[in-house]
């Protein structure tokens, strides 16, 4: 039996949801850095978002389970620290899905560009930290709703 094509493995990985923000996939999040074969072992290189993010362990388990379910027998998950993950690696699809879900996507300017609900631009920051390491809490002064902002790092 031949080994699956790398492009096919990328397709499989793009169906695995982020455990804490399930509207986006691990590929959308930009944390899968490389997929390749070393002999008959599939090597998937993953970079952590925040060094202490508790989702990291779950993400590795999810990748392991999903690929084994596709028939991968020999799998190695490599952690790559450098270059450090940046929100610039979020895919366009990922950014769009985040906003549809109610999380403002990261902006290089350091704050959300508009409210993910009403698209109002009159915003205020409540806290630099939110319900997960990757998010901050903001509020829209137009619709008065608080919302999560995916921090730019």
């Amino acid at each position: 039996m031949g080994l699956p094509d790398v492009a096919e493995v990328w397709d499989w990985l793009s169906t695995i949801p982020d455990p804490e923000i399930p509207v986006i996939s691990l590929v959308d999040l930009g944390i899968i850095r490389d997929v390749g074969w070393r002999g008959d072992t599939l090597v998937v290189t993953v970079t952590p978002t925040y060094s202490g993010c508790p989702a990291t362990t779950v993400i590795n388990l999810d990748i392991d389970a999903a690929l084994r379910a596709r028939g991968i027998k020999k799998l190695e998950l490599k952690r790559q620290l450098s270059p450090a993950w940046t929100t610039g690696w979020l895919t366009e699809t990922g950014r769009r899905k985040l906003e549809e879900f109610g999380i403002a996507p990261p902006q290089p300017a350091g704050g959300p560009s508009r409210c993910p609900r009403c698209h109002g631009e009159n915003l205020e920051r409540l806290s630099q930290f939110g319900s997960t390491p990757c998010k901050a809490q903001w509020r829209c002064r137009d619709c008065l709703e608080p919302f999560d902002y995916f921090k730019c790092i």
Binding site: G52, A84, F129, K151
Partner: protein
């Protein structure tokens, strides 16, 4: 066993990892207790980042040590005399203001140190510093902002922040001391001379304290003994008794 060459590197990594481990644990003690929800979440996030950085520093320390240990072994199976954190981070939290002041005094140092370590001759040190820097830039922005908010706040918050600064400042000097471990790190171009960070640190602290209307103490007395392991405060043992409780009661327990 660590060889003579990497024994100093092992000590250096313990100092980095023990600083973040002990401060991370201290900050986590606020979880569920902070004055407002946003601050509670912010402190828990900060603690989480610090523990994450600990896994990287102590994980590398364990590799360098070469005895087949893990970051968890180093965190949970050592006692007071083996820890190499500065005394500043093991001090009790005190009130919220004191916790925030300690955080700023540490974050300011960490932000400068990690920037320098990104030029280390050691690739893993460089990579950990690159990763941790991004997180610490958020920490220092928030702790500095909160120090200013509370220092230049009410009469009550101002006096508490000044008291916190007066109490904590004599513990700051230890961050800039050096010994033979540092000499070895400087020679190998793995880490900078701790004293070379002082001018930049003092400038940052002076700027923030001026905005916070707080007075930096002139007395340069330095409490020391943490980073060498020679003399920790009585507080570290109590902290470890809680942090290591599970491994002490149920050795080897895992899940």
């Amino acid at each position: 066993m660590a060889t003579p060459d990497n024994a100093a590197l092992f000590q250096f990594l313990l100092r980095m990892g023990d600083n973040t481990l002990i401060l991370g644990h201290r900050v986590s003690e606020w979880c569920g207790l902070a004055p407002v929800l946003e601050e509670d979440i912010a402190l828990a996030n900060t603690a989480l980042d610090l523990i994450g950085q600990t896994q990287l520093w102590l994980g590398y320390a364990a590799d360098v040590q070469g005895e087949g240990k893990t970051a968890d072994d180093l965190a949970f199976l050592r006692d007071v005399w083996d820890f190499r954190n500065v005394l500043l981070v093991e001090l009790p939290n005190g009130d919220f203001g004191q916790t925030i002041m300690r955080q700023f005094l540490f974050d300011a140092w960490a932000s400068i140190m990690l920037a320098r370590l990104q030029k280390s001759s050691d690739q893993t040190v460089r990579e950990i510093a690159e990763k941790a820097s991004k997180e610490v830039s958020y920490h220092v922005e928030r702790s500095a902002g909160t120090v200013v908010g509370l220092g230049d706040g009410t009469e009550e918050s101002h006096s508490r922040m000044q008291a916190a600064l007066d109490y904590l400042f004599p513990y700051v000097g230890e961050l800039f001391l050096s010994d033979e471990v540092d000499v070895a790190m400087i020679q190998a171009e793995i880490a900078p001379d701790p004293a070379s960070l002082r001018a930049e640190y003092d400038a940052l602290v002076a700027k923030i304290m001026a905005e916070a209307t707080l007075t930096v103490p002139a007395d340069a007395y330095v409490h020391k003994g943490g980073r060498s392991g020679a003399l920790h405060t009585e507080h570290l043992g109590h902290l470890l008794a809680q942090m290591q409780w599970l491994q002490r009661a149920y050795p080897g327990c895992r899940w």
